[in-house]
Subunit: 116 residues, 2 copies
DNA sequence: TTACATATCTTGCGTCGCAAGACACCATGT
DNA sequence: ACATGGTGTCTTGCGACGCAAGATATGTAA
């Protein structure tokens, strides 16, 4: 159960998808690049085995598209791009997340309830 | 997949336990009372079927204790109290959560990350 | 050749929130 | 007496998803 240092793994559930969308909103990226970017972000991700199924789910949901790019002097890599539906989904998640995080913070720290 | 209004269910994973601890930190409560309190908090919880297994897990982990109280004029109810280990776990989660929420917010909303 | 890094993808597993339902108790109404 | 509805605890089956580990393929360097 406690493979990681605490229950942080469970926290990542449902967050990784939107985070991928947010990264793709800046520019298209390939799979391992996303793994590196998310790992760099305070260890949001620990294994590439998480990302490829996740990207497939996002693609099946119509939130991203993928395309092989075989530029000269580069390896052939599959690049993912966000779709308009992905933009919309991300936009909605941003407000959902803000609300959710605020709710959790208020339960965790009831002092801030009344208001400063 | 989109049974609820978004993927909010997944967000609750790993958060409900600490939220229960935070409520028990204020005072002991019984199961259905926790259900009502968490439901009132912006729908952090939807079913009592979530809470009783969760309380068992917290008890097995030594984070809460439970005790039947049969006061006169009241129904017999099982009250849960937080333990010192529960306090410690909650304290740690508060910092973990603050860090995690900040990380997610920064990925979702990349402000001044030095990188084109 | 050997060895290692890069890159994509698959498999099996464990956790946990959820809906639905079972069971028991108590108060009230007819 | 009997039925009804609210309260309270608990169990079962399910589905979603992050993770570790491994498979495969290719490019670069010793």
């Amino acid at each position: 159960m406690a493979g990681d240092s605490g229950g942080l793994t469970e926290l990542r559930r449902g967050v990784l998808g939107p985070c991928v969308l947010a990264l793709l909103e800046l520019r298209p990226r390939f799979g391992l690049e996303l793994v590196r970017d998310l790992s760099a972000a305070d260890g949001l991700l620990t294994s590439d085995g998480t990302v490829y199924p996740l990207l497939n789910r996002l693609r099946d949901a119509g939130l991203v598209t993928s395309e092989w790019r075989d530029n000269e002097g580069e390896r052939a890599r599959r690049y993912y791009s966000i779709t308009p539906a992905g933009h919309q989904s991300l936009k909605r998640f941003r407000t959902d997340w803000a609300q959710f995080a605020a709710t959790v913070a208020s339960v965790l720290d009831p002092r801030d309830r009344g208001k400063p």
